[in-house]
């Protein structure tokens, strides 16, 4: 066996082996375009090596010419795949240059088959045997084909394209081996071109060996691709490790971890998560099955939140109840994050869930206690307002009685005025409804009730409360002023509880005025929007609150009044805070105190 046969066969076989490997990779992972293009380059290089070996061993000039002509097919394939590789894998190079290289090379391939014996020689006239690697090999002698310039132009363009691409990668700051790859391509293509030009224009008499140059490129590409594969493998190791660490941490913290593959609709859950939802270990679950475990009242909010997270590509966080097959109920807090695929579509959602049943129960107990306390305070306030309420009831009841008496008197007349009687009856009905409304309101106040959050107009609410205390205020000769801002946004809250707070503040304000001359007894209720909140102030013209008591007035059982229970302001503050607002007290510069509370404005305009 000669050295030449050995070397060229090894070049071809190693190229084919690498090509086979990367073709396999591409078959497994169709998105690995780099591997496919590399395979094509390597196969082309192997074919080029084969052709070269054949040419060196050619017996006749004609044989040499034909092989050279066919060798241009793998040249073409090699150049095209190289250009595409640079564009796709390095993501560099000017597209128009890439297109130009491809078009010119294809044109030269056509010329190769249409003009002369091949692209390089118009005709190979004879063979010369020269020594090479200690052997005698054939080189051609003949008339050069002028169209060869087109092929060489395409090679020049390829060098420019590759150099430009490498420069672009460099400027991008990406100085990884990719630059080495680009540089290698430039270097070896230039080397190949040099040898070509010198040989085919007859300056040197050596066999052309581009396959050796291309082998360099193939080696650089292979090196780069394997590097990438190595990196991917290491990443996957790291990922597995970090996943294990995370699962461990989550389990230790009591979290169950879950992942939902949106495309396949499979939900994977850690052991704890499966247990939390009452699924068997290692169960394969769909999203719908998870939803089925959620309390029917909470399903809508969970589905809405998930949909929102999917659409907005946002995180999701929601608290809901889970009902197990044995009927037990658990509170679960779940958080998740949406991970999109390459096209930005939702692919997976990853998250964690924790059992918050204990916390929820405690919260509910607190809410219940607060409502209970608020109820007691309401009842006690109502007893303070008993005379006001009696007044409000006696007004319509008195009118009803007087109307009924008048009606009886009219009917004693031999020819009664029936129109007048009808008017009387209509008035009686109207006053009856008025009295009924007072009783309804009182019942709503005294009732032990669940908190109901609704959109409320605080201006209307303030008006109602002022109406309620007005008789009391008149009796105590206190003037009540209401200054509402018509542009006040609505709030979200419990009507009765917020009325209770306002009532409390108004009654306190009135209590502060007992020592004043009647002309100086004024309580003012004001409302105004402040940013995204609604502010309500109740100011009196009394003697104010001493500095050391400004904060203490909100403490339970703290009272400055001889017969005060000391719960009114404490309850008011807890109600306002449960509504997401604040309540505080200040002294006015002109004397007296001002109590202010703020509530967050409800979203979306006026409650009409």
């Amino acid at each position: 066996m000669s050295w030449i046969t050995v070397i060229w066969s090894m070049v071809a076989s190693s190229c084919l082996t690498l090509a086979a490997m990367h073709l396999l990779i591409w078959c497994k992972k169709r998105t690995a375009w780099g591997s496919l293009l590399f395979s094509l380059t390597a196969v082309a290089t192997a074919a080029v090596a084969g052709c070269e070996l054949w040419m060196m061993r050619a017996e006749t000039a004609r044989e040499f010419g034909v092989v050279l002509r066919w060798a241009h097919v793998p040249y073409w394939g090699l150049i095209i795949s190289l250009v595409v590789f640079v564009r796709l894998y390095l993501q560099a190079g000017r597209p128009w240059l890439a297109w130009t290289v491809c078009v010119v090379r294809t044109f030269s391939l056509l010329l190769n088959f249409l003009v002369g014996q091949n692209l390089n020689y118009h005709e190979v006239t004879g063979l010369r045997h020269i020594p090479f690697f200690g052997e005698s090999v054939s080189v051609a002698e003949g008339v050069s084909n002028p169209w060869m310039l087109v092929g060489q132009l395409s090679l020049l363009l390829l060098v420019i394209f590759a150099a430009d691409a490498t420069l672009a990668v460099w400027r991008r700051g990406d100085r990884r081996p990719l630059v080495l790859l680009g540089g290698t391509i430039v270097f070896f293509v230039m080397g190949g071109i040099g040898q070509f030009v010198l040989t085919f224009w007859g300056f040197i008499h050596k066999p052309v060996t581009p396959s050796l140059f291309f082998l360099g490129i193939v080696a650089a590409m292979s090196f780069e691709l394997s590097n990438d594969m190595l990196r991917a493998a290491r990443l996957s190791d790291d990922l597995r490790e970090s996943e294990e660490r995370m699962t461990l941490a989550a389990e230790a913290a009591g979290f169950g971890v879950w992942m939902w593959n949106v495309a396949t609709n499979r939900v994977w859950g850690s052991e704890r998560w499966l247990h939390l939802f009452g699924f068997a270990p290692h169960a394969a679950i769909t999203f719908e099955e998870v939803i089925q475990r959620i309390h029917p009242e909470d399903r809508e909010i969970v589905e809405r939140e998930v949909r929102r997270a999917l659409m907005d590509r946002d995180d999701y966080a929601v608290e809901y109840r889970v009902i197990l097959s044995d009927g037990t109920q658990k509170w679960v807090a779940s958080r998740g994050r949406m991970y999109p695929d390459e096209r930005g579509k939702p692919a997976r959602m990853l998250g964690a869930a924790i059992d918050i049943t204990g916390r929820k129960q405690a919260e509910q107990e607190i809410v219940q206690q607060r409502n209970e306390l608020a109820h007691v305070a309401r009842v006690s306030t109502m007893s303070q307002l008993a005379s006001s309420l009696a007044h409000e009831l006696n007004q319509p009841l008195g009118a009803i009685m007087r109307n009924a008496e008048a009606g009886e008197l009219f009917l004693q007349n031999p020819s009664p005025d029936l129109d007048e009687v009808r008017a009387i009856l209509a008035d009686i009905r109207k006053d009856d409804q008025r009295a009924g409304a007072v009783i309804d309101r009182m019942r709503e106040w005294m009732k032990r009730r669940e908190v109901e959050r609704r959109r409320l107009d605080l201006n209307l609410l303030a008006g109602e409360v002022v109406t309620l205390v007005r008789p009391d205020a008149e009796k105590r000769r206190v003037r009540l002023a209401v200054e509402t801002d018509p542009a006040l946004p609505p709030v979200h809250g419990d009507r009765v509880q917020l009325q209770q707070v306002l009532l409390n503040l108004l009654l306190n304000g009135m209590d502060a005025l007992d020592d004043n001359r009647p002309a100086r007894r004024l309580v003012t209720v004001r409302t105004r929007p402040v940013g995204a909140t609604v502010e309500v102030t109740v100011s009196d013209t009394g003697h104010g609150i001493s500095a050391d008591k400004l904060l203490r007035v909100f403490e339970p059982f703290f009272s400055t009044k001889p017969n005060g229970l000391g719960m009114g302001l404490a309850i008011s503050r807890s109600i306002i805070e449960a509504h997401g607002g604040r309540l505080w007290a200040e002294n006015n510069e002109a004397g007296g105190a001002t109590f202010t509370f703020t509530l967050p404005a409800a979203e979306g305009g006026n409650p009409k």
Partner: protein, 206 residues
């Protein structure tokens, strides 16, 4: 007893009650005038017209008590009946002390209300009649000379002419002349009648 022109004035901010009570009193034969506030009433009280005031105790702005005070300041004693949705003791006491004619809840029975109104109108009529008589008496006594008044003072004490003449240091016949003049001016015919008239005039400083 009701004077033909007596008017019951009703003052209440509650329109519904105002209409109802006015209706009932009209149907019961009273002449009624309604006012939606104390200020509206005080703007044109027409105090020369007899009658009474029926006023709501608790009203925004001027209250029933304010109205009573304003009337008292003017020196008019138009009887005031208070109506209240819910009467508490301190307010009632205050109102009665200032001379409220009556104090009724809004749901008081018809009889109580009508009786109170009648009583108030009677009192007003009586007071107006007394005041008119007093006015006339004063005019009559005002016609006496100072000497005649002096003689009158002795006469109503039941003293004899002789004693009066001695006390005043005048002749008994002169005393007789004065007595004749007094009885003529006051159109009385006996000393007893004279004494009664003098008492009626309230023991005037004669």
């Amino acid at each position: 007893m009701n004077g033909p022109a007596a008017i019951v004035r009703i003052v209440d901010d509650d329109d519904s009650f105002l209409t109802a009570v006015a209706r009932m009193l009209r149907a019961s034969g009273f002449v009624v005038k309604t006012f939606a506030s104390a200020a509206e009433f005080l703007a044109r009280p027409e105090l020369d017209v007899p009658g009474c005031v029926l006023v709501d105790l608790q009203m925004p702005g001027l209250t029933g008590l304010d109205l009573q005070e304003a009337l008292a300041k003017e020196g008019h004693r138009l009887p005031v009946i208070f109506l209240t949705g819910h009467g508490d003791i301190p307010t009632t006491v205050q109102a009665m002390r200032r001379g409220a004619e009556d104090f009724l809840t809004k749901r008081a029975s018809k009889e109580d209300l009508l009786n109170a109104v009648k009583r108030a109108l009677d009192r007003d009529a009586r007071e107006r009649a007394t005041a008119a008589r007093m006015e006339a008496l004063r005019a009559r006594f005002a016609a006496l000379t100072p000497r005649e008044r002096e003689v009158l003072k002795h006469v109503v004490q039941g003293r004899l002419n002789k004693q009066i003449a001695f006390d005043l240091g005048i002749h008994e016949r002169t005393v007789k002349l004065h007595r004749t003049s007094i009885t003529t001016k006051l159109s009385v015919y006996s000393a007893a009648e004279l004494t009664k008239l003098w008492m009626e005039a309230g023991g005037l400083e004669v």
